[in-house]
Symmetry: C2
Subunit: 472 residues, 2 copies
């Protein structure tokens, strides 16, 4: 155990080393950073088996799940290389003033940024995840907070990133890591830290957000917090493909043992026989699922408390799976599917995310009832609409889903997120503390600030604004 004092000394030492490395990294060219990201991807790929085994031990995910996540992670590093090659993220613009005084604008890196990865994606939202990849692409140095749920995976990934930095001729101190609660607080409050990326719980994220915005000089806090991710099934869709929908929705809820930020937490299904059939198919799939281990004792404890509490709400019944209780810290838990009708259950507006393999189905009477339910829910990262062709309710349900939702999925699972140019992973609070995406090309913008250069001679402009580089 380290004492708070030890942590402080360690944090300051890590910060001092990072500060020395940061200016040279900020001065690298896009081509150089593309090479660094590519080398990082290659280094992680070269140690796949070791990394997957470490993460498997620490997260209880299967090797297959982790292999897919690691591939996504190294693809993501290379994708930000493409973003660098493209160069439009610099937002270069030039205004010529009467042909003599030009104003050029572009984005420049903020400096050193702090990153808090998530428990549930040890690779894709970890030390080499989307926050780090986009920050390094931007030219920022990075200090990661080690996740207590998978510290050895964090350390192994960090070592590989440092190797890649060295092999491409850069200072390995460009990426560093600190561990422990006190160091996390120090990371958010240190004057040298210019922005924070965070993926985690609403409570933890809000506490760190509050620290970031109450600094003497506040900094941006890009937090992805909790999200209910409502899904609505139209009566026509239920009529058309009840069994398929049941399997799709239950599968989405059970993916990674329900430990996904995009898990459908509330599923709106119409009353009546077609809706009954969707719920029956869901419950059947959930009943067939065996017990699953969760990420760590805290997630497990909160899952048990959350599902017990849900089962005791007036009007709520357990429809599939079973309730889990006490037991050992590492015991697996049972999935749990709840159901309520809107006439018997009035607590939709107080629902919040329960991490783990559980969701609640809310049975609605009609389109107005579904719209009112959607309006009463917290904003979310993603929402799903399942409708039929020529569906009379589709347009209404789409409209009702939109306010505050960052992504809307039509006739598909909300879980899973491709990393691309059109990706948006955000949403109004509490889904996110920021308007900006933590995933996809535009995530890089979070680590950059604009500078305008007015009348500055070519030789003093950044290389990116040399005459040939300027646009518009």
């Amino acid at each position: 155990m380290t004492t708070p004092l030890d942590t402080r000394v360690t944090f300051d030492a890590v910060l001092a080393r990072t500060r020395r490395a940061a200016p040279a990294f900020a001065a690298t060219s896009r081509e150089q950073r593309e090479r660094v990201l590519s080398a990082m991807g290659a280094e992680l790929d070269a140690h796949r088996d070791e990394l997957i085994e470490l993460a498997r031990e620490e997260t209880h995910y299967s090797a297959e799940i982790l292999a897919g996540e690691l591939t996504r992670t190294t693809d993501q590093l290379r994708f930000f290389g493409e973003v660098l090659a493209d160069g439009s993220y610099l937002e270069r613009a030039t205004d010529a003033d009467q042909g003599s005084i030009d104003v050029h604008r572009m984005l420049v890196p903020l400096g050193i940024v702090g990153i808090f990865g998530s428990s549930n994606f040890p690779f894709a939202y970890g030390v080499a995840g989307g926050d780090s990849a986009s920050a390094l692409a931007s030219g920022c140095a990075v200090i990661v907070k080690e996740h207590p749920s998978h510290p050895r995976t964090c350390q192994a990934v960090l070592a590989h990133l440092k190797t890649a930095l060295v092999s491409t001729g850069f200072d390995p101190e460009t990426v560093n890591m600190v561990s422990g609660f006190e160091a996390g607080v120090a990371l958010v409050t240190a004057p040298d830290i210019k922005a924070i990326g965070f993926t985690g719980s609403t409570n933890g994220g809000r506490a760190l957000y509050d620290l970031a915005v109450s600094r003497p000089s506040p900094i941006p806090f890009y937090g992805e917090l909790g999200s209910l991710n409502p899904v609505v099934v139209s009566p026509a869709a239920a009529h058309e493909r009840a069994a398929n929908l049941g399997v799709l929705l239950a599968g989405s809820m059970l993916q990674r043992a329900g430990q996904m930020c995009t898990k459908p937490g509330v599923i709106l299904i119409s009353e009546g026989p077609d809706g009954d059939e969707v719920v029956r198919a869901m419950a059947e799939r959930v009943d067939a699922e065996s017990s699953v281990p969760l990420l760590n004792p805290v997630v497990r404890h909160q899952y048990i408390v959350g599902t017990q509490s849900m089962s005791s709400l007036p009007g709520v019944t357990l429809r599939g799976g079973a309730l889990s209780e006490g037991g050992e810290e590492s015991d697996p838990v049972r999935p749990a599917l709840f159901e309520a009708t809107t006439s018997e259950f009035s607590g939709a507006e107080s629902l919040s995310e329960i991490f783990g393999p559980t969701s609640i189905v809310l049975r609605y009477r009609d389109s107005d009832d579904a719209r009112a339910l959607l309006a009463s829910l917290d904003p979310a990262l993603v929402g799903g609409v399942h409708a039929a062709d020529e569906d009379p309710h589709a347009a209404d349900l789409m409209q009702a889903m939109l306010p505050g939702v960052g992504r809307i999925v039509w006739n598909g699972a909300t879980t899973g997120l491709a990393v691309g140019w059109a990706t948006h992973h955000g949403g109004s609070y509490p889904a996110s503390t920021s308007l900006h995406s933590s995933v996809g090309a535009s995530a890089i913008r979070r680590w950059l600030r604009p500078v305008a250069y007015q009348g500055v001679p070519d030789q003093f402009l950044p290389a990116e604004l040399a005459p040939a580089g300027a646009v518009r």
Copy 2:
């Protein structure tokens, strides 16, 4: 006088009216909003004389200054029409996933936003200023906080904006105004308000920022606060054109009676005869300036306290103009130019903006001394570098100026800001609470949030994402 209760009732009524108007405005096309902005510009232009006379009475600026500002303001409304016509601000992107499931991304308006204009630009940063123009361009409805320093100008401008809304077929309740301290607090804390734009003092801005970020659901607070705006004159520049520099710098300091957010507040000039000559020319120009009225009694009081306090700092001498004292609330004040050497004055890091016709010249020994001084100052909206051709210190001084400064001006006045595609008016805290510009094309992005549409059929996509509209 209204009581707090009256204000609350008024605020709620105004909010309710705006809420009813907002959805229709959010659903307008870019072409429709371009017409609204154009009509607003035309309506203000048609009442120039009346508006200028009102503002002259309320601000004590000359009719000439106000005429220029009004032209800038109506040009700015039309400029955001150009931004709408261009359409790239929507940041449309499409990823095709195996040719079947497309993901489209674009920005959509946040809803209703609150805007606090400034005392010093009754038009350009007022009810129809850059914040309102960019917010209306984005499709957001706007509630402005009336500025107590020029309420009649605010009301007149508001009436013209409403006329323009009606004449183009839109609800005049799309833009509204509230007045008084309590209403300002209500504006920042109301759940229906989705973002705040603010231009004003560091103290006032920080207090409102703290409210915005401590809401149950925090919102973006785009604040432009105080700024020292350092300017550095290289020894070679002083040698080459001392008299010209003195006139330019003093003129920039005296513009609008020093009540500009881009005023050079700290001017670094080398020790020795060339620097002496620059300071002599500045002092001569300041001595020649007559007394000037300030915007309001609060600005005047703070100017007198600030300049008196500056004059009593160890090592600081009054070099031009004179100190002002007590007198009547509306008495004009004298400009005041201060000077200190770095060997006798060590308080640079605690300097902060004094609104009004005053600056301090800091005489530096050498390039290292100048760099250390610049590093000790707060981040600023803009910094100026005056250098010669083939200047051995220019690159160093440019580098030293960059950290935290939002705009850098070479051999020109920092005061004044063209509204264009490359404009950036921001800077690290306390210059701004945000990374985003409050002026220029990209200011529109502050009022928008991204949404991704995954697999959504064309008929349910926003018109802007109809197949022909999608890019990349």
